[in-house]
C-alpha cells in the first residue's frame, strides 16, 4: 500500500493505493495524522486505489476524523470502491464521514461541509 500526499491550494489530498489492513494501516495512519496536525486548510483521502480495507483501516480513518474535529480541519473521503463503501455502511459510518464521489466534488465541497469537521 502506498500513500502519496498532494498539497493543493486549499486542500491536502492523500492518494492511497493498495489494500489497507493490519500491516499497511500504520502507514496510512502516520501520513493522515501528520497531514491533519500540519494544519492544512482541509484534508481529503483518495480511496479510489483501495480495493480492500479492514477494521484497522477503518479505525485509522475514525482516528483521523476525531483529530480533524479537535483541530477544526475539514476532513473527507472520496472515490470509495463498492467494497470499502459497503464496509463503512455496515459499520454505520457512511453518515459520519464526509464522503464524496470524486476529487472534483470533494475539493469543491469539503470546506463548506460541516460534517467534515
Amino acid at each position: 500500500m502506498k500513500v502519496q500526499v498532494r498539497n493543493l491550494d486549499k486542500v491536502s489530498i492523500l492518494d492511497c493505493s493498495g489494500d489497507v489492513d493490519l500491516y499497511t494501516s500504520p502507514r496510512l495512519r502516520e501520513s493522515l495524522l501528520a497531514e491533519i496536525r500540519a494544519g492544512g486548510p482541509s484534508v481529503l483521502v483518495n480511496m479510489s486505489g483501495v480495493p480492500y480495507i479492514d477494521s484497522s483501516g477503518i479505525a485509522t480513518l475514525v482516528e483521523g476524523l476525531q483529530l480533524s474535529r479537535q483541530t477544526h480541519t475539514p476532513f473527507g473521503l472520496f472515490g470509495l470502491r463498492p467494497n470499502a463503501r459497503s464496509v463503512l455502511e455496515l459499520a454505520r459510518l457512511h453518515k459520519v464521514f464526509a464522503i464524496f464521489e470524486n476529487e472534483t466534488e470533494a475539493v469543491e465541497k469539503i470546506e463548506s461541509t460541516s460534517s467534515g469537521i
Binding site: D21, L22, D54, S55, T60, Q66, A91, R92, L93
Partner: protein, 146 residues
C-alpha cells in the same frame, strides 16, 4: 486445504487470497467471497494482535473445509486460551477507533465457535452457508497442503 503461516501481518493478504479463491470455487458470489475474506482476515488479525500480543513469529494456521452447503474455516493458534465472554463488538453508535473486527466477523459468517477441547491453543471455526446454491465441491472434501 490447510495453510500454515507465521503471525506476520503482511501475510494476511495470502489468507485473504486463499479465502476468496475457495469461496468463489464453492459457488459464492464475488461480493460474498470478499466478505468472507474480510471475516477470516479480521479473525486472524485478532489472533495476531490480541492472542499473540503482536508477536510475528508465532504459528497460525487456516484450514478450509468445503461441503455441499457450506464452507468451514478453521483458524488455529498456539496462544493462551481466549476468554469468549470478553469478545464483544463495540456498539456501533460509540464512534471511536477499533472494536469493529468482531462486528465484521459476526456480520459475515453464520456460525462462530471455539473448540473447547483443543488443548494447544485456540481453534476457531467460522462457517458460511451457501444460500440455496449447489456447490461444485465434494461433500466433506478437505485436502492438506503447506
Amino acid at each position: 486445504m490447510r495453510i500454515a503461516i507465521a503471525s506476520e501481518p503482511r501475510l494476511l493478504s495470502i489468507l485473504r487470497g486463499v479465502v476468496r479463491f475457495r469461496a468463489r470455487e464453492a459457488g459464492f458470489s464475488d461480493s460474498e467471497a470478499e466478505c468472507l475474506a474480510m471475516a477470516i482476515d479480521e479473525a486472524a488479525a485478532n489472533i495476531i494482535r490480541h492472542t499473540y500480543g503482536g508477536r510475528t513469529d508465532a504459528p497460525l494456521a487456516l484450514e478450509v473445509r468445503c461441503f455441499r452447503d457450506r464452507l468451514e474455516f478453521i483458524l488455529e493458534d498456539r496462544g493462551p486460551k481466549v476468554c469468549e465472554d470478553l469478545i464483544r463488538p463495540r456498539p456501533l453508535e460509540d464512534i471511536r477507533p477499533g472494536g469493529l473486527g468482531t462486528f465484521f466477523i459476526g456480520s459475515y459468517v453464520d456460525e462462530r465457535t471455539y473448540d473447547r477441547d483443543f488443548k494447544d491453543g485456540n481453534r476457531l471455526k467460522l462457517v458460511k452457508y451457501l444460500s440455496g446454491k449447489g456447490s461444485p465441491c465434494n461433500e466433506g472434501s478437505s485436502s492438506q497442503s503447506g
